[in-house]
């Protein structure tokens, strides 16, 4: 989110504050890919991503005049994004879910044959499930640090916590993540594969790495 030189950014922000919609469009074009990526990583549900990104920029549009420049704009934008996503997640928790609604794509097991791309996608889906199951505060710092690559000091500004707290949350997030990954067959098998085959197991590690039995015919036909 720091693609622009500071002077240009400040000029752009000033124009946005004055209600220049063209400037705000430019701001959107500059920052929306990063916001979209962060929203997708934090939300984990494709269905809500578009609405949430819109909501982030609506909040930015409304609150930009309150941004005093004490922190970097990117930090402030991260903070807005994190809070909007958290609100969206909470709203989704209280939202009724129809039994007939299709599962989220991110959580869907497509049962593909274990080629490399499919295996990688399954791994990442399983990894995302584990991240989703982390407690909120730990999940936020893990995503911001590990996936977004932000330093702890900046995360501390974003989440409004001391740097030490951020590091502590990060440490425990990794611990809990390791524990959660043991419950994911795909990831558990991946670890076993790396450690070598387990003779007591009936399945070969290779089969289990891909995490799934061969695809069912009807699935393939779909």
């Amino acid at each position: 989110m720091s693609g622009l030189p500071p002077a240009d950014s400040n000029d752009l922000l000033e124009r946005c504050r004055q209600g220049d919609k063209a400037a705000f469009r430019q701001l959107f074009l500059l920052h929306s890919p990063t916001v979209l990526r962060l929203v997708a990583r934090m939300l984990g549900r494709r269905a809500d991503i578009e609405d949430t990104v819109q909501e982030v920029f609506l909040q930015v549009y409304r609150s930009l005049k309150d941004f005093r420049g004490d922190a970097k704009f990117s930090t402030w934008l991260h903070r807005v994004t994190v809070n909007v996503v958290l609100m969206a997640r909470r709203a989704a928790q209280s939202r009724p879910v129809f039994a007939a609604s299709p599962p989220d794509e991110a959580l869907k097991d497509e049962g593909l044959w274990p080629d490399e791309d499919a295996a990688r996608r399954l791994r990442l889906q399983a990894f995302q499930r584990c991240i989703d199951r982390l407690p909120e505060k730990k999940r936020v710092v893990f995503i911001l640090h590990e996936l977004e690559g932000l330093p702890a000091a900046e995360i501390a500004e974003i989440v409004g916590a001391p740097v030490l707290t951020v590091r502590t949350r990060l440490f425990y997030a990794r611990q809990e993540l390791a524990e959660l990954m043991r419950q994911e067959p795909t990831l558990c098998a991946l670890a076993e594969e790396s450690d070598g085959p387990n003779p007591s197991s009936g399945n070969s590690p290779g089969d289990r790495v891909k995490g799934q039995p061969p695809a069912r015919p009807e699935k393939d036909q779909e």
Partner: protein
């Protein structure tokens, strides 16, 4: 592969992952359409993370602390109680301000030149030694053997709303839930309510008095005959520690006709035992042990308003207790006591 290495590998893969198949152009179009329609959020986003309950918890804790302190320090001339809660060692010396707490055994404490203190088991309070020796009794009982003092009012015990100031005497002060008990072996003490709502009363030994724990406008000291020596056992404070002050046990008649909580619960336990024996048939050679906990609620009229056994007793036993509880009288409050009975078949 170690879990942390696996996490690192997955993180690397996740970082390389492309954005989900979401068309930013569509988002852009919808966004600016909403802006054009003025569909902005009504309230600015609160930039706080997560549900932060700690401010509420801090405020609640602070409020609780203020209420607690206020209730304890209502009379402004009481010594400070916010001292480190350290159990007193049996050291013969006293710091200027010291908190004491005894467990199952009582303890002696010597205050040089002023008094000897016997702290009964399960007592708690604060001793402040300066120009005046003040014992703030928060729970339990203390016995003071006060040396004759050159100046008046050099030793005092604060218990609830009362100050018991002494010249030179041996006396005992017990703070109970519902009342303050004062027994004077010899010498004299003056009992004054701290809020000034009652007239100061002198108790000259041997004498005793009970005073309600909550401030009221009158109180009635009682006088008793010289203490019989054979009642020492009742004042032993623990199996290993014997009270130095052989005062007689309290009887219901002394407490203005209302049994103390100890007496009430003793009567209740007796009633339970009686009911259990009458309603439980035990085969010869068999021993039955009953363990329960009795909770009593005494209404303002002094009668038992409600009771409960946890775990419950046999219906017949509880029915018997229900009939017999009309004889139980006590001071308003809730009381609880464990009960263990052993019934032998005959």
């Amino acid at each position: 592969m170690k879990p942390q290495e696996l996490i690192d590998q997955l993180v690397r893969e996740a970082r390389q992952q492309r954005n989900p198949g979401v068309e930013l152009a569509i988002i852009e179009a919808k966004l600016f359409e909403r802006i054009a329609r003025g569909e902005l959020p009504r309230t600015p986003l609160k930039l706080t993370q997560g549900r932060s309950w700690w401010p509420i918890a801090v405020i609640a804790a602070a409020a609780a602390a203020v209420v607690l302190l206020w209730s304890r320090l209502r009379p402004s001339n009481q010594p400070p109680t916010n001292l480190p809660s350290t159990a007193m060692s049996p050291s013969p010396a006293v710091e200027r301000i010291q908190k004491f707490r005894t467990d199952n055994e009582g303890r002696w404490l010597e205050v040089t030149g002023k008094a000897s203190l016997w702290m009964e088991p399960n007592s708690e309070g604060t001793i402040q030694e300066g120009d005046r020796l003040t014992v703030l009794l928060e729970e339990g009982a203390v016995i003071l053997d006060v040396l004759p003092q050159p100046a008046p009012d050099k030793v005092e015990v604060l218990a609830g709303n009362y100050r018991i100031s002494v010249k030179g005497t041996r006396f005992r002060v017990a703070r109970r839930t519902e009342q303050i008990e004062v027994d004077v072996e010899h010498g004299a003490v003056q009992v004054t309510s701290l809020d000034g709502t009652t007239t100061p009363q002198w108790l000259r030994g041997p004498a005793g008095g009970t005073y309600p724990a909550s401030p009221i406008r009158t109180f009635q000291p009682f006088h008793r005959a010289s203490s019989p020596v054979d009642s020492v056992v009742s004042l032993r404070t623990s199996a290993t520690a014997e009270s130095p002050l052989p005062l007689p046990p309290r009887t219901p008649s002394r407490n203005m006709g209302v049994p103390s909580s100890t007496d009430l619960l003793a009567q209740a336990r007796d009633l339970v035992a009686s009911c259990a024996r009458s309603s439980t048939s035990v085969a010869p050679g068999v021993q039955v042990t009953i363990e329960t906990s009795l909770t009593l609620s005494i209404a303002p009229g002094g009668h038992v308003e409600a009771f409960a056994f946890q775990p419950p007793l046999a219906p017949a036993t509880e029915q018997c207790f229900r009939k017999g509880k009309t004889k139980l009288r006590g001071l308003v409050g809730h009381y609880s006591t464990p009960i263990t009975l052993t019934l032998n078949g005959q």
